[in-house]
Every structure is written in structure tokens, then in C-alpha cells.
């Protein structure tokens, strides 16, 4: 039986290696001195300097940046997913005229094509006018909007999998639109929802161009902190690697827990 899968495992192992070796290299780089990394040697004496520097030096606010990234990530993802999933269901099944669906989806897609540098400066002007710049709320709204097109389109694919017979039967039994959505549709699209949540969160977590423009010292996120290490005539690789390592950890944990929670939470909440 395992013979059948040995090719699969082999391919997965090779892919896994290609994926993991650079990541591992980045994590290890965080424990090296700059000269040891630049000289390209394999052996080195690990040091904690980089982590101490990025966490505790006077010019670093990494813990604050973390807090900001987590808040912005969670909040923008929730808003984005909620709005996006509802809209996807609405546009697909709730009898909107065809032009509404096409215009909205098209507009959303075109919006995704705007280069970040143009978008960031436009939003800065907007938010400055209403005093939302340098606030977490301002960035949350921006991120939610940035990822909304993707959420709507992706959930649009997954809501199409909800069988019509189920929907009709529920309606015959007198379920309201709201009950239908929350009790029947959500459990079916749970895996797709989980995947889209992961992507929206990760995109928010790693977003740089807009975050740079809309934040200052108190509201800066982790990518802004990481960018500080790409300097005018050198890149501080080891500090950047240390920060990136610290950045991957919470994201990874949140995602693993989040994925399982979403899928389980939604499917166990379904009508049995």
C-alpha cells in the first residue's frame, strides 16, 4: 500500500526541501554575525546579538510593531472576509441584476491593479483629510479594502459549490436568507473560507507600501520595521533575518490554529 504512495512522498519531500532550505537559512542567519553570513561559510558560532538588538535596542519598537500588525491583521481580515463572503453569496444567489455583479466584480479587479505606490499616496491624502492617518483604524480600513477584491472573487468560486437543491429545500422549510447563510452555506464553504482567511491575513501581515505611508512611529507594522534594515548602502541581513524569523512565528501559529478553528468551528456548528 505504501509503495503506491512512495513516489508521492518522494516528490513531496523534494519539494519540501526546496521550500524549507531557504527558510531555514533565513532563520539561521538571524543567529550569525554579519561577517559570518557574508563570508558564506557553513559553520558558525551562534550569537543572540541580532535578536537582542531588534527586540530591545533604543531605536527599535518591534514589540509595538508586533502588536500593531496583529491588531491590523486580525481586524482587517475579519472585516474583509465578512464583507467579502457576504457579498460573494449575495451576488451569486440573491438575484442581483447581472450588470451589478459584473460592474462590482470588474471594479474590484481593476482596483487590484492599481500600483501600490499610487494607491498609497492617494490614501494618505484621503486619510490625512479626515485625521485617520497614523491610526490603526485607518490602516485596518486600507488593508480590508486592499484584500476585499480577492476575498470576493475567491469566495465567489467557493459559494458556487453550494448545491441549489439544498438552498431550495431550506427555503421550502421556511429558513430565512440569514439562517440559510449562516447554518447551511458557511459550513459548506468552510475550507475555502479558511484558505481565503489565511491569504488575507498573510497579505495584511506582510503589506509594506501602504503601511509605510499611513503609519508613523506608534502605528508602524512589522514590515516597516523590517524595511529599516535595507539601508542606503548596505543591507543588515542578520538583523533583517532575525526580525523575519520573529515575524514568521506568530503568523504561522495563528494560521495553523486559525485554519483548524475555522474549518472545525464552522462544520461542527452545522446542522447535523
Amino acid at each position: 500500500m505504501t509503495q503506491r504512495y512512495s513516489l508521492a512522498y518522494l516528490l513531496l519531500a523534494v519539494s519540501g526541501l526546496i521550500v524549507v532550505v531557504p527558510v531555514f537559512w533565513i532563520v539561521l542567519a538571524g543567529f550569525r554575525t554579519p561577517i559570518s553570513l557574508l563570508s558564506g561559510t557553513w559553520q558558525f558560532d551562534p550569537v543572540l546579538d541580532n535578536f537582542l538588538e531588534v527586540l530591545f535596542s533604543s531605536t527599535s519598537d518591534l514589540l509595538l510593531n508586533y502588536r500593531n500588525s496583529i491588531i491590523v491583521g486580525l481586524a482587517s481580515t475579519c472585516i474583509c472576509l465578512a464583507a467579502g463572503t457576504l457579498a460573494a453569496w449575495s451576488l451569486d444567489r440573491l438575484n442581483w441584476p447581472g450588470w451589478v455583479t459584473h460592474v462590482f466584480l470588474g471594479w474590484a479587479l481593476v482596483f487590484q491593479m492599481i500600483p501600490p505606490v499610487a494607491l498609497a499616496s492617494a490614501w494618505f491624502g484621503m486619510e490625512r483629510a479626515v485625521h485617520l492617518d497614523n491610526t490603526l483604524i485607518g490602516l485596518i480600513l486600507a488593508h480590508a479594502t486592499l484584500n476585499l477584491p480577492m476575498a470576493v472573487w475567491l469566495m465567489g468560486v467557493f459559494v458556487r459549490d453550494v448545491p441549489n437543491e439544498l438552498v431550495e429545500a431550506a427555503k421550502i422549510d421556511g429558513a430565512s436568507g440569514r439562517e440559510l447563510f449562516f447554518s447551511i452555506v458557511l459550513p459548506i464553504i468552510a475550507p475555502g473560507l479558511a484558505a481565503t482567511t489565511v491569504l488575507c491575513f498573510v497579505f495584511s501581515w506582510n503589506e509594506f507600501a501602504v503601511a509605510l505611508n499611513l503609519t508613523a512611529k506608534e502605528t508602524a507594522t512589522v514590515p516597516v520595521a523590517i524595511a529599516k534594515f535595507a539601508q542606503d548602502y548596505q543591507i543588515q541581513y542578520t538583523q533583517m533575518a532575525a526580525t523575519a524569523t520573529l515575524s514568521i512565528l506568530p503568523a504561522l501559529v495563528l494560521l495553523l490554529i486559525g485554519q483548524r478553528y475555522i474549518v472545525n468551528g464552522l462544520t461542527t456548528g452545522a446542522l447535523k
Binding site: G16, V19, V20, L37, S39, L94, V202, S247, L252
Partner: protein
């Protein structure tokens, strides 16, 4: 494979009258309005602003802005810009190459992970890793790894007895290297979505095909692939759009060089719109790029429609 175990029989009949139409109308609007409001509030102005700016020249004197209308002048200048021609070509090559690679690899990995009996969770977590890393770190670290003198890649191929290459500095390999790094970075995107898509496929079809004695390849070709087309299409569309916006990685890896071998349009845009502060011209470029991407997507869509009817 999950199929939410719901059948019509499990819904308890509710002893309620039929829902009034107003309630349904309310729900219809309630479900659509959050997204609509968000897009109206945040997504309308930037687009309009971009379009408007493309017809002006903006300069600053004495601390305030001067808007000079120039009509279609910026659009006419675009084809003459030496960086634009190179940028568009490279970006299309880059986008198509990278996206194709990611789709294929993502699909293969998703299929493999759903097939294997054990280790699903492990591999799922493993293959997500690259997108967790910010673009700037991906660019910086791969630049180090592809370094001619000290890089990991050259060291490894040195062990294998091959000669070291100047991956990022040689115009023959530069674009390919950038594409490879992008594939490494973004395959998890496709992997995640395809995994969700495959898991949403109904089980019974496969059981039926198993009864008919179909091979895994036939399963894939005639059942999985056709059912996955919507997922693949949307994933491809978004990856394409995002590939056109790629910036950090290319900036750190090659800066657009050698020569213009890896000059991507987002680069040219950044240079003109931001560094040179030509916001009018840059806006025109952005609008033009949006047209090009839309065109590509429409062509792809028509192609798919043709494929369907064939």
C-alpha cells in the same frame, strides 16, 4: 475530504409562514452593503484620482501644487519611453512564466497532499512557509543566496561539479532567476487555494468512478481538472494581477538590471511616478498598464469560454 454531511432530511421542518419579501430584500442589501460601502469609501477615490491626474502635470512651487492640464500628452509619450517598452515585455514574460509555474506546481502539490494517507497537516504547514516571509526579505536573502562569489546556490552546484553562474548579473539568466524566486515565493498561494478547492469536491463522484475502474490519471483528467477550472481561473487571474505589481523582490534582486533585462513595469512606474515625481505621467502609465492587464484577462476568459464550448 470533507463534504459537510448535510442532506435535506437533516433540516428539521420549521413551522413558520413563508418569509415576507421585504425581509428578503433587506437581507439582500444587508449582505451586499458592507463590501459595497467599503469599496465606495476607499476604492473609488483613488481610481478616479489616478485617472484625473493622468491628464495633468503637477509641479510644486513655494510649497503648493500647480496643476497644468495636458490632455492626452502623457499617453502619447508612453510608447517613446525606452523603459516602458522593455518593462511591458519583461513583465508579460515574467507574469506568464511565473504564474504558469506556480499554477502547475501548486496543483501538483495540492493533489499530492490530498492523496497521501498521513502527514497532510505537516506538509500543509510546510508549504505555506514561503508566503509568510515579507517580499523584502525574500528579495534580500535570495540575493545573498544567488551571489556569484559567496552564494549558497553556487556553493551547492560547486559540490555537484558545475561552474558557478552569475545568476542575477548575466542577462541570460537574470529574468529566469527572478521568475524562479517568484515561483518559490508564491506557489503556496496556489497550493492553498487548490487544496481548498479539491477538498470541496464531492466524494461520491470519485466513488462512482472508482466503481467504473478509472485510473488516478483519468480521475484527474476528466473529473478533478474540469471541476477545478473555476478555482484555477480565479487563482490564475489574481496571481497575474499581483505579478504585474511585483516590486520588492525584483528591486532587491536585480534593480532592473543587467541593462533592462529584468526591468518590470512596476519598476518603471516607481521610477517615473515616485522617484522623478512625474505623477501625471506615472498615472497615465498606471492606467495604461491596467488596460494591458485587463486585456490579458479578457483574452484568457474568452479562451476559456472557447475551450468550454469546444
Amino acid at each position: 475530504m470533507t463534504q459537510a454531511g448535510i442532506s435535506t432530511a437533516s433540516i428539521a421542518p420549521l413551522a413558520r409562514p413563508a418569509r415576507p419579501r421585504e425581509d428578503e430584500k433587506l437581507w439582500r442589501w444587508l449582505s451586499f452593503s458592507p463590501a459595497l460601502l467599503l469599496m465606495l469609501a476607499m476604492g473609488a477615490l483613488p481610481l478616479v484620482n489616478l485617472l484625473a491626474t493622468s491628464f495633468f502635470d503637477v509641479t510644486w512651487t513655494s510649497g503648493s501644487a500647480n496643476w497644468q492640464p495636458v490632455g492626452l500628452a502623457h499617453y502619447r509619450e508612453l510608447p517613446a519611453d525606452p523603459l516602458v517598452a522593455a518593462g511591458i515585455t519583461n513583465t508579460v514574460l515574467f507574469a506568464l512564466g511565473a504564474v504558469f509555474g506556480q499554477l502547475v506546481l501548486g496543483l501538483i502539490l495540492a493533489l499530492l497532499v490530498t492523496r497521501i494517507p498521513r502527514g497532510k497537516v505537516f506538509f500543509r504547514a510546510l508549504f505555506i512557509l514561503p508566503i509568510l516571509i515579507p517580499g523584502i526579505v525574500v528579495g534580500a536573502i535570495w540575493k545573498l543566496m544567488l551571489n556569484y562569489d559567496f552564494g549558497l546556490v553556487n556553493q551547492l552546484i560547486g559540490f555537484a561539479g558545475l561552474t558557478a553562474q552569475d545568476w542575477l548579473g548575466d542577462s541570460g539568466t537574470a529574468l529566469l532567476s527572478v521568475i524562479a524566486v517568484d515561483i518559490w515565493h508564491w506557489t503556496p498561494f496556489c497550493f492553498l487555494l487548490f487544496l481548498a478547492g479539491i477538498e470541496a469536491l464531492p466524494n461520491d463522484i470519485y466513488e462512482a468512478s472508482r466503481m467504473d475502474g478509472a485510473s488516478p490519471w483519468q480521475d484527474f483528467r476528466y473529473i478533478t481538472l474540469p471541476l477545478m477550472i473555476p478555482t484555477i481561473a480565479v487563482t490564475a487571474a489574481f496571481r497575474l494581477v499581483l505579478a504585474f505589481k511585483v516590486f520588492d523582490e525584483v528591486y532587491l534582486l536585480t534593480g532592473g538590471g543587467p541593462g533592462t533585462a529584468t526591468e518590470v513595469i512596476s519598476f518603471t512606474l516607481y521610477q517615473r511616478f515616485f522617484t522623478e515625481d512625474k505623477v501625471g505621467y506615472g498615472a497615465a502609465m498606471a492606467i495604461a498598464v491596467i488596460f494591458v492587464i485587463s486585456l490579458l484577462l479578457i483574452i484568457g476568459l474568452q479562451g476559456r469560454r472557447l475551450g468550454r464550448t469546444a
